[in-house]
């Protein structure tokens, strides 16, 4: 409830203060400051809301456990792909690994809300490196540089494992 009231207050503040700002050449600062104060109170209410309420507003139906499962599956896929002939990498990465990495990344707001911005930064530092190396493995395999493709996928795997370890150590 607090989140919704906060959002309504910020909306009123935004529309009202924008109107005051464009209404006349000489700005009426009293009105403008009052309206901005409404917005600041709204933001205070949003920040005081519970994690559950924020996640509900974000329409987040995933939990951290679900995210760990997705990442475990991605790590397993990367391992499987690494063990096959690199000629098959592009198709396998595109069909089996990339969708899982995209799914994990699409729930990053959940990690921010649950674990805080600092931990989020640590986790995504490793995850992004893992995803970039998977992309490099795809490119190298398409260009028929198979040794590089294998090396890149190995690096991707180790970064994804690091991400998983960080996620698992938070609980």
């Amino acid at each position: 409830m607090k989140t919704k009231i906060g959002i309504i207050m910020v909306t009123i503040s935004f529309l009202g203060s924008s109107y005051v700002a464009v209404e006349s050449e000489k700005l009426e600062w009293g009105k403008w400051i009052t309206l901005i104060t409404v917005g600041i109170i709204g933001i205070y209410l949003i920040k005081r809301s519970s994690k559950e309420e924020i996640l509900k507003v974000l329409e987040e139906d995933f939990s951290l456990e679900d995210l760990k499962k997705v990442l475990k599956k991605a790590t397993k896929e990367a391992e499987n792909i690494h063990s096959v002939d690199p000629k098959n990498y592009p198709k396998l990465i595109e069909e089996n690994l990339s969708p899982l990495l995209s799914e994990f990344a699409s729930h990053r707001e959940l990690i921010k809300a649950e674990l805080g911005i600092k931990k989020f930064g640590e986790i995504f530092s490793h995850f992004a490196a893992g995803e970039r190396y998977a992309n490099r493995a795809w490119s190298a395999a398409v260009d028929e540089y198979y040794e590089e493709a294998k090396r890149a996928l190995q690096l991707s795997l180790s970064e994804l494992k690091e991400t998983l370890t960080l996620l698992e150590t938070v609980n």
């Binding site: 700002a21 640590e122 530092s125 490196a129």
Partner: protein
């Protein structure tokens, strides 16, 4: 032993090679001259990465038989860095000539060195932001996705290649017709009898729809900004009789919404920086720790020390430029210009990268205007001539810094998608940024001597706009209240914690509404396709078509620029 060595060398995946850099220089020079010349006539600049990637494809793969997606990525990084100077300098440098000064009134070598140094600073400032915007926030950078789609086409399968080509052909055809007829907008509102202040006119551009499709939900709040102006604020203002002195939608945008938008962009960015500070510090710290760990991943980034070099370099260069471009400049005043200029390059770099990352539109002119305004205010006691020259010299360096920063960010997104090493791209950008200012300043001086900048033959609309703004600042002042009010609103919106909210809504206030309306089509199409056709369809069918739409229009735009160059010979 020798065989193993040879095999190892054979296996080395080409990335930052001499060939890629030289091809990048060649294509970049071609783009900088063509696009630079066209922008002096047409008044806008075009991003050349798509063409650079396609030409690189032809030269590297076709002519030289080299097979490396990431090597072509380096080629387009170098080429767009060379061309990046054109976007930055064509807006600022012509203003000096248009205001009646000649190359005898300022030092050309200092201008060139300043712009080269500006570019290097912009790139250095981006180092920690790459992690925040690409790795953490995962901004869309639609232009970067389009270039990655071109680069990846050899392995993406024939179906995606056809979709990309189909999208490009249709978009190119539409844009060619638009350029041929000069019918760039569709005034739907006028045709169905809507009031003028609602400004329902669509910009005819499949590129804009494609960009919005790639940006997806990320561009939603940008649209909200535009609709707030013309569907909520303008009708209320009209009801209360506040629009009596205005007669066109363009008046509405320039006098009411644009100044608030500029303020919102600044306030939104500053609040965004405050909120993201733990992430930025974390990114810098992790880069520092990683560099000490010796891991392979750590070698992927340029040493964080470059950021320090960038900050000190920016200060020294701006101080030198301000002291040597105006005889009466005092050391104290010069130091103030240099400090504010350095801070502004970083803040504007964040604003532009956020805007281009979330929507593909960059308010470079607005940010340069703010930079020049700051410089004019700080140098106002020196007399008009000295103040103008010092401000534009410093402004040009800032403008190149900002355009290099955003260009690199786009290229780094492309690089992320093809698996490039950021460090190698950053080095490539450094190499490219050194050549651009030399080419562009030569082009400007030669053209000015031949046709006179600001004449009907060479109108230089961007330079004229900056020149008239500088005259306006010196004679009438600036809408300070509007900027401050906008900054407060932008900061409030960004403080909600929704990524880039203040900047996005501010961009909706800042840009012409015809762009926002057409952009809406792409956003609605993406939301619809994600819901009805599924994310898989959006990624595998929608994205290649949208990327094609960007490529097709961009190619016709560059083709049009080259046509102008040839016609002028």
């Amino acid at each position: 032993m020798n065989t193993a060595k040879i095999n190892n060398n054979l296996e080395k995946y080409p990335e930052l090679t001499v060939t890629a850099v030289l091809v990048g220089y060649l294509i970049g020079a071609l783009l900088a001259v063509s696009i630079g010349y066209a922008s002096l006539i047409l008044g806008f600049s075009i991003e050349g990465s798509e063409l650079a990637a396609i030409l690189g494809f032809g030269i590297l793969r076709g002519l030289l038989g080299r097979k490396s997606i990431i090597e072509n990525n380096i080629n387009q990084t170098v080429a767009s860095a060379v061309n990046g100077a054109s976007a930055g300098m064509m807006f600022s440098v012509p203003a000096i000539f248009i205001l009646g000064f000649s190359e005898k009134d300022f030092s050309l070598p200092i201008m060139v060195l300043g712009c080269i140094a500006g570019g290097i600073m912009g790139i250095a400032f981006i180092i920690p932001l790459r992690k925040q915007m690409i790795d953490f926030e995962r901004l869309a950078f639609p232009g970067g996705i389009a270039v990655a789609t071109i680069l990846k086409s050899p392995g993406a399968g024939i179906k995606k290649a056809y979709l990309l080509l189909g999208g490009a052909l249709v978009s190119a055809l539409v844009h060619a017709i638009v350029l041929y007829n000069g019918y760039t907008n569709f005034p739907l509102g006028e045709k169905i009898g809507l009031p003028w202040y609602m400004n329902v006119t669509f910009y005819i551009s499949l590129l804009t729809i494609g960009v919005a499709f790639l940006a997806g939900k990320g561009g939603f709040f940008f649209i909200i900004g535009g609709y707030t102006c013309y569907f909520i604020l303008a009708p209320i203002l009209n009801l209360r009789g506040k629009l009596a002195n205005l007669s066109s939608a363009s008046d509405l945008q320039h006098h009411l919404f644009r100044p608030i938008g500029i303020g919102m962009l600044i306030g939104g960015a500053l609040m965004g920086i405050v909120l993201a500070l733990p992430l930025i510090i974390g990114a810098i710290r992790s880069m520092y720790q990683a560099s000490k760990s010796g891991k392979r991943v750590a070698q992927d980034e340029l040493p964080i020390g470059f950021l320090g070099v960038g900050i000190i370099g920016a200060f020294v260069v701006l101080l030198y430029m301000s002291l040597y471009s105006a005889q009466n400049m005092t050391l104290g005043r010069g130091v103030l210009v240099a400090i504010l200029g350095t801070i502004w390059i970083w803040v504007a770099g964040v604003i532009l990268s956020e805007c281009i990352g979330r929507t593909n539109w960059s308010p470079l002119s607005g940010m340069t205007l703010i930079g020049v305004t700051l410089a004019v205010m700080l140098t106002s006691g020196l007399g008009n001539k000295e103040s103008i020259i010092a401000s534009i010299m410093v402004g040009a360096a800032m403008c190149v810094a900002m355009s290099q920063a955003t260009d690199l960010m786009l290229d780094l997104k492309t690089g992320y998608l093809v698996g490039a090493i950021p460090r190698k791209q950053q080095i490539a950008q450094f190499l490219g940024s050194a050549l651009g200012p030399i080419i562009v300043i030569t082009l400007i001086v030669v053209l000015h001597k031949a046709y006179t900048l600001g004449s009907p033959r060479l109108p230089a609309p961007q330079g004229q706009a900056l020149a008239s703004m500088i005259e306006g600042i010196l004679n009438e002042g600036i809408p300070k209240d509007k900027y401050i009010a906008g900054a407060g609103i932008g900061a409030l919106l960004s403080a909600t914690g929704i990524g880039g909210l203040g900047i996005l809504v501010g961009l909706g206030f800042y840009l012409p509404f015809n762009i926002v309306l057409t952009y809406t089509i792409g956003t609605v199409l993406r939301i619809w396709s994600d819901k009805k056709m599924g994310k898989n369809w959006s990624d595998n069918v929608g994205v290649p078509i949208a990327a094609g739409a960007i490529v097709g229009e961009a190619l016709i735009g560059v083709g049009f620029a080259i046509y102008h160059v040839i016609k002028a010979l």
